[in-house]
């Protein structure tokens, strides 16, 4: 981590910027005041939501690279809810659009789940493909069916201003912070309960660690895979809904391509989840950190004319260093343990050695559960 940051400092230097002022601008832009903290939280939200979903999928041994598509599916579903039921009162419509997002993303996630469980399609492949399909579908919808009729001849790729009853209410305090933050944290807590405090979580994690043993223990492996991807997609789908109804535009906008809408949260969420050691509660600070990097990057650009792309590159380096040092940490820790200290607590143990290797995807043999 420190190494990565010092590499970032070197990059700042070569760009002709003072690294100290650079990092100061970064930190100030990310955490320097209530408004900055609010912006950071808003950036962190989709990362957190996707990240919680990633925790669920990876823990169940399913590699979900489909966050992008699931966000879009959730956004579309929630937008349709708001378009169909614009007059429902606020107290109902807000939950409805969120649930709509969850269902949209959940279904989108369940498809690769079913394909993997019952047809043996590798989920890395299918989730990547589902991302492409979702992006094109969004583009299709926003070119005609869902476009803002008011924009007339200049057809902007966006929906009309969605019902004000679906706006995520702003939290008290004079910032842009809205209910989505609370929802994201709530879902992180729910994700934690699901994984570590529920019977379903035992099953998902068991399947993720060892599909064979789980099957011999009588667990339905295929069903678990579908459920894991559905839950994972549902979390990303809520992120999609939050991106629509928590945005300042309160519409679904695809101008500038699908990645403009998702803000690449489908990928960055994976990073946040790993930083949180695939533990939903730990993803909260992790996503907050990355949200801070992203908002800080924009202020870095504004104040020092250093392209915000630096932050993306830096994120990549941080990821490399962190995953690269996990093994080292585990070894150090096991030495320390052998030296005498007690054993680790179970599910709360530091996840680096406890989490499944996300890439150990569950293999399904022909004779698994029916």
């Amino acid at each position: 981590m420190l190494v990565a940051l010092s590499l970032g400092a070197v990059m700042l230097l070569t760009l002709g910027a003072n690294p100290i002022t650079g990092y100061a601008a970064l930190i100030d832009g990310a955490f320097g005041g209530w408004d900055e903290l609010a912006d950071t939280s808003i950036k962190a939200m989709p990362l957190l939501l996707v990240g919680v979903g990633i925790c669920i999928a990876f823990r169940a041994g399913v590699i979900n690279i489909g966050g992008e598509g699931q966000i879009i599916a959730g956004a579309i579903a929630s937008t349709v809810v708001a378009l169909v039921l614009p007059d429902v009162s606020r107290i109902l419509l807000v939950p409805l659009v969120l649930v709509g997002g969850a269902i949209g993303g959940g279904l989108w996630g369940a498809i690769p789940g079913v394909l993997k469980a019952y047809a043996g399609v590798n989920e890395i492949l299918s989730t990547i493909m589902m991302n492409l399909v979702a992006a094109q579908f969004l583009s299709f919808l926003l070119q005609d069916l869902l476009t803002d009729k008011a924009s007339g001849a200049i057809k902007i790729q966006q929906t009309e201003r969605l019902s004000a009853n679906a706006d995520l209410p702003l939290l008290p305090g004079d910032t842009r912070l809205h209910l989505g933050v609370m929802i994201a944290i709530l879902i992180a807590v729910l994700g934690h309960i699901l994984l570590f405090r529920s019977a379903l979580g035992v099953r998902l994690r068991a399947v993720g660690h060892n599909a064979d043993a789980s099957r011999y223990a009588g667990m339905p492996v295929k069903k678990s895979i579908v459920q894991a991807l559905a839950f994972s997609g549902a979390c990303a789908g809520v992120a999609g809904a939050v991106l629509v109804f928590g945005s300042e535009s309160h519409r679904l906008i695809a101008e500038g391509g699908a990645s403009g809408f998702t803000q690449s949260a489908g990928f960055n969420g994976i990073v946040a989840a790993l930083f949180g050691g695939l533990s939903p509660l730990a993803v909260v600070p992790a996503s907050f950190f990355f949200g801070g990097m992203l908002t800080g990057g924009i202020s870095l650009q504004q104040e020092l004319q250093v392209p915000a792309a630096l932050i993306v590159a830096l994120n990549g380096i941080v990821v490399l260093f962190v995953v690269g040092s996990l093994k080292l940490q585990t070894r150090l820790r096991s030495w320390a343990q052998e030296a005498g200290s007690g054993s680790l607590r179970g599910s709360e143990s530091p996840p680096s050695d406890h989490a499944p290797q996300p890439a150990d995807s569950v293999a399904i043999s022909e004779d698994s559960d029916g």
Binding site: I42, R176, E248, S249
Partner: protein
Amino acid sequence: MKATSTKVVASAVTALALVAASCGASDDAADAPAEDAPAEVAAEAPADEPAEPAEEVAEPIKIGIVAPSAENDLAWTQSMVDSVSRVAEGRDVEVAVSGGLFVVQDAAAAIRGYAEDGFDLVIAHGTQFGAPLQEIADDFPEVSFALGTSTDFFGKDNIYAYSVEAGEGGYVNGVMAAQLTQSNVIGVVGPVPAGDAKLYIDGFVAGAEAQNPDVEVNVNYIDSFGDVLLASEAAKAFVESGADVLTGTAQMVVGATGIAAEEGVPWFGTQSNQTDLGTDIVVASQVYHWEVVLNTILDQIAGGKLGGERRDLAQQRWPRDGVQRQLRPRRWY
């Protein structure tokens, strides 16, 4: 076929700019249109850096630009950055630019950021920024915002909507293109059928067809402002299907101009001066001289009017259906 057209271009023109003049198009604007925009050749475009903050003089006007693509994209964003730096030559302004904000939510944050930092005018240079701007503008009644291209200021007192009659320069380009083509097939690479891109392309098609009814203008909206690869492949598809003149609009056309340069096919540019993309193929570029609009807006801000009207950049007025009046392209060489 390729060889002949190359020669035609070489002898024709290298670079010239279509200059747009301003015309107050708002219903209440009674000011005389600044008709005589100089037909300057926009060759020098010192846009690599935003203007330096002006020397300590009393209260410079602070302008913030929020734009979707890079400041020097040789297209949409650069047209505004160049224009503002030209404004800065004659006025006491302080400029800050946030480019590359294709994520609407990031752009919204930047717009809000400038407003909070006490900027006098925040230019949201992208149609898609209209949605968040509508809501942001209410929070900063003392700040003036400009949104383009847009014909709608959403009834807000502090939003100027600006747009460009891109079809006019498009029409001129179309007329010229129709004279250049020998195969009578012209290809157009567009982003999405919206905004100034659509206006330009519609004008171009009208111009070409008015000049020569036999000309077939094929348009390909590639659904992306950013995908140069698709733009390049679209251009290639045009060339392969017989097109010997190309044009296109938005920042991804750099992919298409690469093909044009490789194949020696004449290219018509728009938004910014695109001569740099290929000195031997770019026949003409329509350049958006936003300063005409900006100066009016700045004057009005100085007079206390923060918005609530629409300002259009136009070449000359002609009936909006565009076809009636023939332009003689020779005038532009």
